[in-house]
Symmetry: C2
Subunit: 384 residues, 2 copies
Amino acid sequence: MIRKEYIMTPGPTPIPPEVLLVQAEPMIHHRTPQYTRLFVEMVEGLKKVLLTRNDILTFASSGTGGMEAAVTNCFSPGDKVLVAAGGKFGERFTDLTELYGLGVERYDYPWDETADPNTIASMLKSQPDIKGVFVTHSETSTGTVNDIEAIGKIVSETAAILIVDSISGAGALEMHTDDWGVDVLVIGSQKAFMTPPGVAAVAVSNKAWEMVEKASLPTYYFSFKKARKKYNSDSPETPFTPAISLVRAMSKATRMLLDEGLEEVWRRHRILAECTRAGVIAMDLELFPKVLDRSYAVTAVKAPEGMSGGDIVRHLNREYGVIVAGGQDRLKGKIFRIGHVGYYNIFDLMVALTALEMTLKKLGFPLELGSGLAAAEKTYLEFT
Amino acid sequence: MIRKEYIMTPGPTPIPPEVLLVQAEPMIHHRTPQYTRLFVEMVEGLKKVLLTRNDILTFASSGTGGMEAAVTNCFSPGDKVLVAAGGKFGERFTDLTELYGLGVERYDYPWDETADPNTIASMLKSQPDIKGVFVTHSETSTGTVNDIEAIGKIVSETAAILIVDSISGAGALEMHTDDWGVDVLVIGSQKAFMTPPGVAAVAVSNKAWEMVEKASLPTYYFSFKKARKKYNSDSPETPFTPAISLVRAMSKATRMLLDEGLEEVWRRHRILAECTRAGVIAMDLELFPKVLDRSYAVTAVKAPEGMSGGDIVRHLNREYGVIVAGGQDRLKGKIFRIGHVGYYNIFDLMVALTALEMTLKKLGFPLELGSGLAAAEKTYLEFT
């Protein structure tokens, strides 16, 4: 068979051909009306996707740069913050806040569960000096999704600001940045935004800006203040040379999302997630999250008894060109993850499920071929 | 006339079509043998271009991210450092080192001159507690070039490390990283490396690593240690999602530079710089640098008496589609800058010089049409 590659990881994700091609257009300078137009169109488009009127600042970096920026721009050493972590990316906020000398109150919840808003409420109540709450929206490493609406309601009633890593969330899952009271939202280009990695963006509320004014941690390349000043100038730009070809791509991809319609984009992600889950469950596999709050960005599946997640991932890749992700850190070998955030439709998922059925069969797992596929089709027809 | 755009700024610079197109290839995952091969090829290629056996670490960021990384990875608050600054980018190191609480000994030299190695030598002699020396290789804002070989010889005889911003230098100008004793070299993708902006790289010597081990400033996204650990693993990668499409482009462009041959690449930049200078001098314009140490990356030209540099830049852009840079900060309106770093040949320069002659004539500057063009041709023929 001709090998074709199917990238089904929760980031980077496939890029629409028309977005890929935009990157191949001749280089333009970032201080020209042509670039300014694209850049502003992207930023204003992102505001529509993220349902926010807050400032959106962009950086040439991966999403982690945006997470670090949230820490260094909003706080001073010793500031007390609450970090809710239940996966590799939640723990990244723990690492970052501890590294920068914040007073970190850890709320570590089990990796197959989600953060309990009540726990956050009672921590905020008993420790009113907490200045910030860090939460992961879609936890890419475990396939869970936190209830940002509920957490936002709680945090908004306190003096603390809410910082949300929505890198694999926004665009795939509903994110009402302003209505939910998210003060600093962090996103990346390479997931629902259908753009190659290399652009991070943050949406910063007025409540967060008040913290920024008081914050004393040094920041330069990722400075919110520098970025806002340059964006609000006569000719909006970034303080440092932007990733021009990626901004062009993201501008195009954001327009595609808006053309599709936000409700429709969310619905697409939900349908694909439900089809994937119906498929793997019909194969007699078990989903990793114990809770029902599962992310529409990625489906985390337990490796069957006596089988390594790594073997499944490798077989899918080598035999069928289907690239899915394994487990990370403590989940290494125990799970595998099928991504469906970004530019996917049902047939992409059927490819992944077909390859998974054949892989399981080959590796000796008892399975009736076609069972997962039929379940996915059935679910799809129920939704459409 | 059909408008065609000619980007003649000292970064971003035109990208070869074959490099542009690489960006349009389907997305691949960064933890696959296919990506690892491209990434390692790029890093090992950069070692050849930079003439170094030191570790090369790469970041998804613009060059300024690499400059900030040099500060935060190598030093602790209060560490005494010497910053030689004679332009906007030299001052960026002043800003960064002061922001991070280092004890900054400033050596500010005039913007139309270069750093005197003897001054650096005597400062190091009288202040043996200086732990680092920051120097700009090619100062993009003024068109000068510092004698890194001489400065490197001086610094290497002390305990201090030498940090060089070679973002617009390396690739256009000779850079013998190891032989000249450069401990931390910072480069970016968007100048001589013929790649869109968005990738920064640093070459880190053993002497610098010893400083990194002792440094206490926090660093995460730009952590040298994290980056080295991930590169030296069984399957070389970066700690955070890389700018995959840009790395593919830079891998391709680095191969092109090596195919052309390093001596030939340097010679090309020298010839184009000399032709540009001969051209503008024959037009009776004056070069901005007082000194003869002029960068081969960019030619900075004084605006003629009674004429604004900004008017020249705007006329070139609007009438002819030739995008050159104006002066920055204190040089705003006083100079304009023609870039010739990266993917240029003599005919690109002739386009710029033609547009410049016609612009000057239109704006009322007395000039014999063709005088600059003839001088550039003559210089070219002398070299080839």
